[in-house]
Amino acid sequence: MTSLVQSVDWVAVAPVLVTALTGLAVLVTDLFLAPRHKPLLGWVTIAGLALAALCLIPLTDGDRATFCLTTGDRQCSYVADHFALAVQLLVVGGALLTALLSVTTVRREALPAGEYWFLLLSSAAGAALLPASRDLATLIVALEVASLPAFALVGLRRGDRGSAEAALKFFLSSVVATAVSLLGVSFVYAATGSLHLDTVAGGLDDVDPRLNALAALGVVLTLVGFAFKLAAVPFHFWVPDSYVGAPLPVAAYLSVVGKSAGFSGLALVTVVAFRPYADTWGPALAVLAALTMTTGNVAALRQRPDQPASAVRLLAWSSVGQAGYLLVPLAAAGYHDDPEEMVGATVAYALMYAVVNLGAFAVVALVAENRPGHRLTDHRALFSRNPLAALTMGFFLLCLAGLPPGVIGLFAKVAVFRTAVDSGLGWLAVVMAVNVTIALYYYLKWTALLFATPTTATPTTTPAARATATTAPAAPTPGTATPGAPGQATAPTATGSTVAGSTATAAREPSVPASVPHPLTAAIALAAALGVALSGAPQLILRLASGTLF
């Protein structure tokens, strides 16, 4: 009789383990640390995440697995294949960039340092565990480990009602979604008698005909929890409020690492476990993708640039739109003979999105150093104040839009489009094309705003200004100016008080931020360097999109 004791491959689980242990270490150290030394915890976190990233290197062969059954067909609960490694790289790298962003925020907003870093690391550990899980129980546990700390992170701002309300909203809706997922898992277990993904796939192949409806229902319900994390429509309503209520780095984290938990779970569940039911989840995901991208992009388009936090809101809604693109290859997998080939496009897209979206959040944080309103209009004429920040922001936005010089954004979209065309989902490809155009419009407006002429230094001789002067005696004040009409906003016909007001604003602000926090600069530089490198050599991540990762 063979031993039932499972051997553990510690190297395989190292990326997750290092992250989790760093979290515990930070929490314990916090107790013994004098308040003036608390910033140290941030650097411990960054070092821990960097170490976790290094732990991925020995695994690059992608052939390790652990927590395997010692009997039967030796199913493993933890597999470090290429899919898991790519998503873990995304999670750990995303958390690292978030940590760099957070150093300043934690200090400035006086967030409880020990708790903050512990929660961030725990959530990252859960998100890193998720793509490597190969049974439904581990998947759900990983999903919860990734989610629960996130609620607390959203609500961490003391004495901020918006923050607490956002956290509660996020928490309640998420718990419902997870409960529904759990119900689905139990149905699937009832129908197949197993939790291991491969065995489930085998079991679903020949389900007792009387249990067919139960299995199909279980498949659909299981998807709900992951769709919620991905913020797919109609499970997206928590996004804008949570993003705005949360500290900015947390919003960035949710938009990247939170999503990765959602899509990696969906990919595993659909492509590996529920493969026999492709004709059930394929169309469902396709409709979900179309709805998600359309809702997100249309809502992003409707953001008023002068509203408080409009920049964060726009990024929040656009992240819903981007989640729709992430779903396209997964939906295509439902229609393709070789579904595993499709998933790579999602992973490649997510990696691109992680880099540039975190970069965009970093620049928003940088701008907020001087103008804390997180308004889109705060970005007006950034180029004249801080040319480098404006150029990198322009690059990130064009990557998100998928327009040269954001080459990597374009090719990631090409990879996604290709999966749709390849598997005959022509209508979804067309919907996505329309959405890409909508998204281009608002990203481009933002980009144009960065390079707009400064409000104060207005040459009075431009024809547009003259035209406005004759046709519109009461020019809009800078506060209500839309990005589409800087020509009008810069017209020197604004009332005297407005001009004086904006001049005063300009006078208060140094032309270059007095001291840009170094971690923030490092985060922007890192994201920009990655983005440029990927634009030159898209093969680096797009090779994930060819062949199978499993």
Binding site: P404, R418, V430, A433, V434, F451, Q539
Partner: protein, 529 residues
Amino acid sequence: MNDTALQALLLAIVLLPAVGSVAALLPAPPGLRGSSPEQAVLRHGVTVTGTVLALAVALAAGFDHDHPSRMQATTDVSWIAALDIRVHLGVDGISLPLLVLTALLTFLCALYTYFRMPQGPGPRAFVALLLLLETGMLGTFVALDLIVFFLAFEIVLIPMYFLVARWGGEHREAAANRFILYTLLGSAVMLLGLLLVGVRAGTFDMVALADQHGAGLSHGVQVIAVLAIGLGLAVKAPMWPLHSWLPDAHTAAPTVGSVLLAGVLLKMGTYGFVRIVLPVAPEGARTLAPYLAAFAVVGILYGSLACLSMVTGVGAADPTGATVDLKRLIAYSSVGHMGFVLLGVATLTPTGVNGALFANIAHGLITGLLFFLVGALKERYGSTDLNQIAAGAGAALYGKAPRLGGLLAFAAVASLGLPGLAGFWGEMLALFGAYQPAAGLSRPAYLVFMALAGVGTLLTAAYLLLVVRRVCMGEHPAPAERAAFADIQAHEYAAWSPLVVLTVVAGLWPAVLLSLSDPAVQNLLGGSR
């Protein structure tokens, strides 16, 4: 010249503007500072575009003129193996003239800007954008991979958007937004078509696809691909009824923006038809060609009628009614001229396609010149409104500035297709092609198209001559008024004379271009018969 040298030349031509664009943003190195930072960066623009032009001329000289149908100066390396995308570049008899035209027009624009920087933000960004634009335009004409072609096609959008939105005239933001939305929607659909072709045929390589002549693509796939790709190209060309971004963009753009928009960007659309649509999906092209021809003819008539009503004041082409913007007029006339190009393409015959390519080049030269001239009028009158310039009996440009007036008349008659000048051959060959369209196309329909297009040439002549009469003729000006009015300046001579010379050369000696394009066109159309 051997092929390695040509290859190096071609790579330098495409990469140099990109490098120059980045360099323009950096501070000038010691020794190249010039009299001021502005002057230094403008000079940098002239130097880079001038070098590119010299290299392009050298490439044209080294090109093997005995085998223009063969791809020359080719580079073919794998770029993104995962998507099977290769950096495959090369020129043949179809792309070479467009390459040289692009290099020439960009150089002339940089030269013109050196002396006449348009109003707006500083020249540093202007030069950087101009050079980035040049990279995209040149890249489009040399790319031989569908996705790299698309990439280059898209690169031009951002610089052109900012050129219009930042340095343009009235309503520039709205015009720029409209321009970019139209073209982006078109190109998103085009990307789907390109992917469909690539996925179904198994390769993105244009040369391989052209050699297959549509083998491996079912009729349905070909029709969908032609529809999707054609839509993207038709927006750019622009084809009626997708043209409505063009007049606004032209009206708002600064002079050099208009020149490049009309002279090069529109050609990218028609070039795509010849290079991709016809050889890659010949069956789909044959199915949809009559519709393309019909739209093209409507465009010809629409463009010329719109111009005519603007000039004569009949109807209300312009909603305000009072102003007749000359830039808008030339933009509408471009819709008409590009209609001839599309008609030539839609005949699917070597004659028609050769005519289309010839008309492409001719339109680039002549309309580029026209926009330069209107820009000069704007500098002198402060407006491009015909009614304001030619108030009363006329502007009497012949009297005030005889050389400028003469040149304007020259450009106008070249544009209306006077035999002996460049505008003539392309349109005539396109009409010839329509007289005898390719097998399988309805001849009676094409005869009707030809007749209608012929009417269009008459209308074109009518409105252009009316413009010449109103601008150039009029009461004899007083000597004082004459003295106050500047005739052509030295820098204007420098920027314009190459266009004039080439217009005459192409008109008198069309074989220069036709001998280049004809073998390549025969090769591309070879399998479709």
